[in-house]
């Protein structure tokens, strides 16, 4: 089978079969192009149901489960730490493990509007140009939910399932406080016997992700193929053209050829591959004239808090279906959305939160002490009772010194350098104050204290812009100066927005794929 794949000149090779690569490959195959997905991780078994286990350290076991095999080696504010991030490697990428929250950004996330200037002056593609792609992504991913009462923009949503008792009580309670909760936008189809696979692989085509809404429909066209467990080592070509990629699979090294290449290895993976592709043609790395490949790395900050409904709520499970955007943009400041995490503030979650705090603290080298967090957690679980856990996502802004780098001696390790800027820390304090003030009348408790980066939301490392000196990609997400290299993952985002990135990744991937298909039809 691989002999066929190796001898084919593909219309498009998609590197990385996650949300971006999956959706782009699907659109390309549906438009009649011959597509090869090249994926580092395994295809896996469809009935698998695992979540991401950050404690699993063995790289072989990690990759088998669809986790990125290597650790994140982070230097954050000058302090080194090493841990496993919520990063996938397998068909569907990280998205098979996500909670399927697919929310549209606000207009001001993408462009400057009156009273809300944009930190970069605005994306080269405005909100109106993105709108139809968002609608299409929502449709392909079966997004259900309710319109945000504060937003003038319409979304394309299927009706959500009936509200649970606890969510209904929370809705009433939040509305009573003058807030505007709505049903989160979720890519779960709630098929009969739905397992509610928040954070785990879904054994059925019920949770919509890069696998079920991307790679699987692409393969079903008969025009796409998948090469899994395949490491892409480098892109090769001339100054303005990629001719082939060099890959390693099962101990063999070989080349794969295509007319067009779509890079979708994620905001941490894609820039690393471009840097690893340094050659005579591209001395600084592929597509790196600007020196910006890997820079402007952004995450969100997670502000996690427990919230008790004012009225007594039935005890029928965790809330997972509520979002609110009352604090999204507040007194001239860019914050972000607030959403239920699908957790009750039970014992396990609190152990996890405390364990995470421990890992980031000065005590982290004394592993034996980590168990001590279990004791306060047991106490906290009793005190917290039936609280629901929410998270506020705080927009991060790009700084060139925040970056992901490439270490040829440790190809599976993801090296990042990140500094929490005073601007971000000040905005964070204001965000927390805003949440506290807005929830007046509710009992609430912040569960995060030190700033917590959301390593599941990396973006920005191949910034899209009009000026080749200050960006890596043009408005079509083509690399400046390399006509057949496109990017379809979160790397393109000039700003991190105040919402989960997945819907934007999917919408943009459709846009990028359609651009490739149209240029091909036009004979370019």
């Amino acid at each position: 089978m691989t002999a066929d794949i190796r001898e084919t000149l593909w219309d498009v090779i998609v590197i990385g079969a996650g949300m971006g690569g999956g959706m782009a490959g699907r659109r390309l195959a549906e438009r009649g192009l011959k597509v090869l997905f090249v994926e580092k991780g395994p295809q896996g078994y469809r009935a698998e149901h695992q979540g991401i286990d950050p404690e699993m350290g063995d790289p072989v076991a990690r990759l088998l489960r669809g986790y990125w095999p290597g650790p994140i080696r982070a230097r954050i504010d000058g302090r080194d730490s090493e841990f496993f991030g919520p990063i996938g490697a397998g068909v569907g990428g990280s998205s098979v493990f996500y909670a399927a929250t697919l929310e549209r950004p606000e207009r001001h996330d993408i462009e400057a509007i009156e009273g809300r200037p944009h930190p970069t002056g605005g994306w080269p593609v405005g909100y109106d140009a993105m709108r139809d792609w968002y609608a299409e992504a929502e449709q392909l991913l079966h997004v259900c939910g309710q319109a945000d009462p504060l937003s003038p923009e319409a979304c394309t949503l299927e009706p959500p399932p009936p509200l649970s008792g606890v969510d209904a009580a929370l809705m009433r309670s939040l509305r009573g406080a003058g807030l505007h909760p709505y049903r989160s936008h979720s890519a779960i189809r709630y098929l009969d016997g739905c397992h509610d696979c928040l954070g785990t692989k879904c054994p059925r085509p019920c949770k919509m992700d890069g696998r079920s809404a991307g790679v699987e429909p692409a393969l079903a066209t008969g025009r796409a193929a998948l090469l899994d467990r395949c490491d892409v080592r480098r892109l090769c070509g001339t100054a303005d053209h990629v001719s082939h990629i060099e890959v390693a699979r099962g101990g063999e090294v070989f080349d794969l050829r295509a007319r067009q290449f779509v890079l979708a290895g994620g905001a941490l993976g894609s820039p690393r591959l471009l840097l690893a592709s340094a050659s005579e043609a591209w001395p600084e790395g592929c597509a790196n004239h600007s020196g910006l490949v890997g820079r402007n790395l952004m995450f969100h900050l997670n502000e996690v808090f427990a919230l008790w409904p004012q009225q007594t709520a039935p005890d029928d499970g965790p809330s997972k279906a509520i979002s609110l955007r009352d604090f999204y943009h507040w007194q001239g400041q860019r914050f972000g959305t607030v959403q239920a995490m699908g957790l009750k503030a039970g014992y396990g979650e609190i152990v996890h939160v405390l364990g995470g705090m421990f890992d980031r603290s000065m005590l982290r080298h004394m592993r034996a002490l980590r168990h001590v967090t279990r004791l306060p957690a047991a106490v906290a679980a009793r005190v917290l009772g039936r609280a629901q856990v929410f998270v506020g996502l705080l927009e991060d802004l790009g700084y060139p010194e925040n970056r992901v780098t490439w270490d040829a001696s440790a190809p599976d390790a993801i090296d990042i350098t990140y500094t929490l800027h005073p601007e971000l820390l000040a905005r964070r304090r204001a965000f927390r104050r805003a949440i506290r003030a807005g929830l007046r009348g509710h009992r609430s408790l912040f569960l995060t204290h030190a700033p917590e980066l959301n390593f599941g939301h990396p973006c920005g490392t191949l910034r899209m812009g009009l000026d080749p000196a200050t960006s890596v990609l043009d408005a079509d997400c083509r690399a400046h100066g390399i006509g057949n290299l496109h990017v379809a993952d979160a790397s393109f985002m000039p700003t991190s927005m105040g919402v989960n990135p997945s819907l934007t990744i999917a919408a943009n991937a459709l846009r990028v794929a359609e651009g490739i298909a149209r240029r091909r039809e036009a004979g370019e």
């Binding site: 078994y45 009935a47 149901h49 979540g51 286990d53 054994p203 279990r374 004791l375 047991a378």
Partner: protein, 254 residues
């Protein structure tokens, strides 16, 4: 899909505990595939059950190829939803009377049979994400008796296999539930004269094999009660403080 929708495979079903397990499952309305090394035993087993309830499949579990063929034949009838790895040999032999070959032959049945059948059954189970595997075990590895080296080693390795399977599959396929079961001292050819009637033990074993609760993954049962994993003093103290102690589970409906 429930575990009773598919076929329950019982190995070593030509006599003793295996026969009793096959009959007990059949009596509970489950379709059974009885695997045995020779046709006589399994046909006798099938004849003791209601017509058509037990299919017989001749295979030596030590022979990987024969096991693959056996499971292919069974799967043609219905998917395998339950596997009871029961087949075992217990040659009483002084180690000085063992050769490398004789020792390996025992391991090939007791451990290799478990590996071959489990591997073959998993082909279908990982497709649906559902299944139930019970490995018939003993405490023989804890304090090996004289003249029991090959048996003790291979049965002990079988218990390690259960834990290794849970390590590989437990998180990925929580609906494939694997447990160890020590039936107790039985009045069978392998057991002792004044032991338990195999029919009594089989009621526990069959009920355990049909107890389809993901929380049982990796659990160990002796007769009809769970054997909790040994805990150190510190762990027991912590459990007590956090009120996490739980009583051993008992096999219901047996």
């Amino acid at each position: 899909m429930s575990v009773t929708d598919g076929i329950a495979v019982v190995t070593g079903a030509g006599g003793g505990l295996g026969r009793a397990l096959a009959l007990e499952l059949a009596a509970r309305g489950v379709r059974v595939a009885a695997i045995g090394r020779s046709p006589g035993g399994i046909e006798e087993t099938a004849a003791m059950a209601p017509e058509g309830r037990i299919m017989t499949v001749m295979a030596d579990v030590a022979d990987a190829d024969a096991v693959r063929n056996a499971f292919a034949a069974i799967t043609e009838a219905a998917p395998v939803s339950v596997l009871i790895n029961n087949a075992a040999v217990y040659p009483r032999r002084d180690f000085l009377d063992e050769s490398g070959e004789s020792f390996a032959a025992t391991v090939a049945v007791n451990l290799g049979g478990m590996v071959n059948c489990t591997r073959a059954a998993l082909d279908g189970m990982v497709r649906t994400g559902r299944g139930r595997i019970v490995n018939v075990s003993t405490f023989a590895d804890m304090a090996p008796l004289p003249a029991s080296a090959a048996y003790s080693v291979s049965k002990g390795a079988g218990r390690i296999l259960t834990r290794a399977l849970v390590a590989d599959l437990g998180d990925r396929f929580p609906g494939i539930v694997i447990t160890d079961w020590m039936p107790g001292m039985l009045a069978t050819r392998m057991g002792i004269a004044d032991g338990l009637a195999p029919g009594v033990a089989a009621r526990w074993g069959a009920a355990l094999a049909l107890w389809d609760d993901p929380a049982l993954n990796g659990a160990v049962f002796e007769m009809n009660r769970e054997v909790l994993p040994p805990r150190g003093l510190k762990a027991r103290l912590r459990d007590a403080l956090l009120m996490r102690r739980r009583p051993p589970r008992v096999i219901p409906d047996s």
